[in-house]
C-alpha cells in the first residue's frame, strides 16, 4: 500500500473531524466558544460538503477492500490505518448526526448523580439541569438495557463532573469496543477481507467513532459469545450473550441461533459457523427492517447486520446489498440537513434515499439471474 494513500486518508479524516464541529448545537453551552452555527445557516453548502465527505469515505473504503482482495495490504498496515481512524475520529464532535450520546449521558446522570432509577425517572424531571438544554430525548425513560447503563458509569466517573470529559470518555468507550470488535472479527474469520469490510466501513466508523452509538458494544458481546461457543465455553458464552441482550434487547432475536450452537456443542456435532453468521445476519436484517414498528429506521441500526454479513463475504448478494445499505443510510441524514425539518417531504425523502441503492443492487442481481 502506498504511503500517499495513508497520508490522504489521514488528511481526509482530519478534515471530516473539523467539519463535524460546524454542527455544534447552539444550546450546548460547554462548546459556546467554538459554536459557529454554520450548519444551521448554510444548509445547502453543509449538505454538499457532507455528501462529498461520505463519497470520499466510500472511495477510501473501496480502495482498502481492493488492496485486501489484491493482497496489497498487510495486517500491520491495516493496524496503522485503523489506529489513525480511531485517534482522529475520536476527536470529532459527537452530535454531528445524532444526539444519542447526550441521552446516554443524561441517563447515566439520572442514575449515578441523582441516584434515581432511569427506568422510572426521566431526565426532564430534574428541572434546571444544564443537560436539558440540548438533550433531545430528555422526556423518555431509559431505552437501553441495564448493562449499557452500568457501562456508562465508567465515563461518568472518569469525567469527575466535567461534561466535556464525560462526553469524550463515552466516545472513547465506544472506540474501545470498536477495537475489540475488530479484534474478535479477526479472531473469528482470520480473513483480511472481513477485517477490512468491518474496520473501515464508513457507516460503522461514523456511527461508532463519531456518534458513539452503543450498537457496537452489543455486537461485540454477541460475537464474543459466538466465539466462546466455538471454543466450547458455554457458561462464558451465555454470560456474554445475556450481556449483549441487556445492552440492546434486539440481540434477543439471535437467541434461536445461540441455542442451536449450544445444542450442537453439547451433542458434539459439527458447527458450520459460516451458516451461523449467515442466519444471524438475516435475523439482524429482520430486526433492522422491523424497527419502524418501534420508531423508525436509524442508520446506526445497520451495524447489527453489517457485522455478521461481513463475516460471510462470499454471500455476494447479501454483501453488496448490505454495502449499498451502509452507503444509502448515511445519506438518510441529508433531507433534514438540507431542510432543517422532520416534517413535509423529509420522511418520504429519507425512505427513498435509504432503500433505492439496495433495491437497485437486488434488481441487478435479479436481472443477472434471468440472463
Amino acid at each position: 500500500m502506498k504511503k500517499l494513500t495513508v497520508i490522504l486518508y489521514s488528511v481526509f479524516l482530519l478534515l471530516f473531524t473539523i467539519f463535524s464541529y460546524i454542527f455544534v448545537d447552539p444550546n450546548l453551552s460547554y462548546f459556546k466558544n467554538i459554536y459557529s452555527g454554520f450548519a444551521f445557516s448554510n444548509r445547502s453548502l453543509t449538505t454538499i460538503f457532507y455528501t462529498l465527505f461520505i463519497l470520499i469515505f466510500f472511495i477510501f473504503y473501496g480502495i482498502f477492500v481492493y488492496f485486501g482482495v489484491k493482497k496489497k495490504i498487510s495486517l500491520k498496515e491495516i493496524s496503522v490505518l485503523f489506529g489513525i481512524t480511531v485517534v482522529v475520529l475520536l476527536l470529532s464532535y459527537p452530535a454531528m448526526l445524532s444526539y444519542d450520546i447526550f441521552n446516554y449521558i443524561a441517563t447515566s446522570k439520572v442514575l449515578f448523580f441523582y441516584h434515581e432509577n432511569p427506568y422510572i425517572v426521566m431526565p426532564i424531571e430534574f428541572m434546571g439541569d444544564p443537560l436539558l438544554a440540548f438533550t433531545h430525548a430528555a422526556n423518555k425513560i431509559a431505552l437501553y438495557g441495564p448493562v449499557w447503563i452500568t457501562l456508562t458509569g465508567i465515563p461518568y466517573f472518569l469525567g469527575f463532573g466535567n461534561f466535556i470529559i464525560n462526553l469524550f470518555a463515552l466516545k472513547f468507550l465506544a472506540g474501545v469496543f470498536y477495537l475489540t470488535t475488530i479484534f474478535i472479527v479477526w479472531k473469528i474469520s482470520k480473513n483480511i477481507i472481513s477485517l477490512i469490510l468491518v474496520a473501515f466501513n464508513p457507516l460503522i466508523v461514523i456511527e461508532t467513532l463519531i456518534s458513539g452509538h452503543n450498537d457496537i458494544v452489543m455486537i461485540f458481546l454477541a460475537l464474543l459469545s459466538f466465539f466462546l461457543l466455538a471454543k466450547k465455553k458455554i457458561f462464558l458464552a451465555t454470560l456474554f450473550f445475556a450481556s449483549a441482550i441487556f445492552i440492546k434487547y434486539t440481540t434477543a432475536l439471535l437467541l434461536p441461533v445461540f441455542l442451536f450452537i449450544v445444542w450442537k456443542t453439547i451433542t458434539r456435532k459439527e458447527i458450520h459457523f459460516e451458516k451461523i453468521f449467515y442466519y444471524s445476519s438475516l435475523l439482524m436484517y429482520i430486526a433492522f427492517l422491523l424497527s419502524p414498528i418501534r420508531e423508525e429506521i436509524y442508520p446506526w441500526y445497520a451495524i447489527w447486520f453489517l457485522s455478521f454479513v461481513f463475516l460471510v463475504p462470499n454471500k455476494k448478494i447479501l454483501l453488496h446489498t448490505s454495502i449499498a445499505f451502509s452507503f444509502s443510510l448515511l445519506f438518510r441524514y441529508t433531507p433534514y440537513m438540507l431542510t432543517g425539518t422532520y416534517a413535509g417531504l423529509t420522511p418520504f425523502a429519507k425512505e427513498i434515499i435509504s432503500f433505492t441503492p439496495p433495491a437497485l443492487v437486488l434488481i441487478y442481481y435479479g436481472l443477472k439471474k434471468r440472463v
Binding site: 441523582y114 432509577n117 427506568y119 422510572i120 430534574f126 428541572m127 434546571g128
Partner: protein, 175 residues
C-alpha cells in the same frame, strides 16, 4: 327584551356555577381500580408492590411509588365502600393513608439532595386536592359506623366516618 335578560341571567348563573365547579375540582386523574381483595391476582399485586419498593429507589422514585400506591388504595377503598365491603375498604383506606404520609418526606429529602422538586410539589398538591375531593364524596356515601361481625370472634365497630375524616385531615395538613 325581558326574554333576553332572562336568558342572559340564566347563562351567567350557569356559567358561574360550572366555572366554580371546574375550579373546585383537581385536574389530577386517579387510576382505574385494579384487582380487589379476594381476587386471584390480588396476592400477586401485593407481592409486586413489596418488590417494586426496591425498584423505585431514589427520592423521586420513592415519591412516585408512594403516590402511586396512595392513589391505588384510595380507589380501592372507594370501590369497596361502594360494594359495601366496609372492612376491606377500611383497611385499604388505612393503607392509602400510610403511603400518603410517606410521600412528603421524600420531597424534603430530594430538596436536601439539591434536586429541584417544584414540579413534584405541584403534582403532590394536585393529587392531595383530588384525594380530599374523593374522600369528601366517600364520606357522604358511606355509613358513619359499621358493625363487623367475624365468624369466630367478637364483633368490632368500624368508625368509618372517623377514618375518612382522619384521611382528609392527613391530606389537608400537607396542602
Amino acid at each position: 327584551m325581558k326574554k333576553f335578560f332572562r336568558f342572559a341571567a340564566f347563562f351567567l348563573i350557569f356559567f358561574f356555577i360550572t366555572m366554580s365547579r371546574v375550579y373546585a375540582e383537581s385536574n389530577y386523574v386517579l387510576p382505574y381500580p385494579s384487582s380487589m381483595p379476594g381476587g386471584m391476582s390480588y396476592n400477586f399485586h401485593l407481592l409486586y408492590e413489596s418488590v417494586s419498593k426496591y425498584w423505585y429507589f431514589g427520592n423521586f422514585g420513592q415519591f412516585n411509588y408512594n403516590l402511586k400506591l396512595a392513589d391505588k388504595y384510595l380507589v380501592e377503598a372507594k370501590t369497596l365502600f361502594e360494594y359495601k365491603q366496609y372492612l376491606l375498604g377500611y383497611k385499604a383506606l388505612k393503607k392509602s393513608d400510610q403511603y400518603f404520609i410517606n410521600i412528603l418526606p421524600n420531597l424534603a429529602r430530594a430538596r436536601r439532595n439539591g434536586k429541584n422538586m417544584l414540579h413534584k410539589r405541584v403534582i403532590f398538591k394536585e393529587s392531595t386536592r383530588k384525594h380530599i375531593e374523593t374522600l369528601e364524596k366517600m364520606e357522604v356515601d358511606t355509613p358513619d359506623t359499621f358493625n363487623w361481625q367475624p365468624e369466630k370472634a367478637s364483633p368490632t365497630i368500624l368508625d368509618i366516618k372517623g377514618a375518612i375524616e382522619y384521611s382528609i385531615n392527613v391530606r389537608k395538613k400537607d396542602l
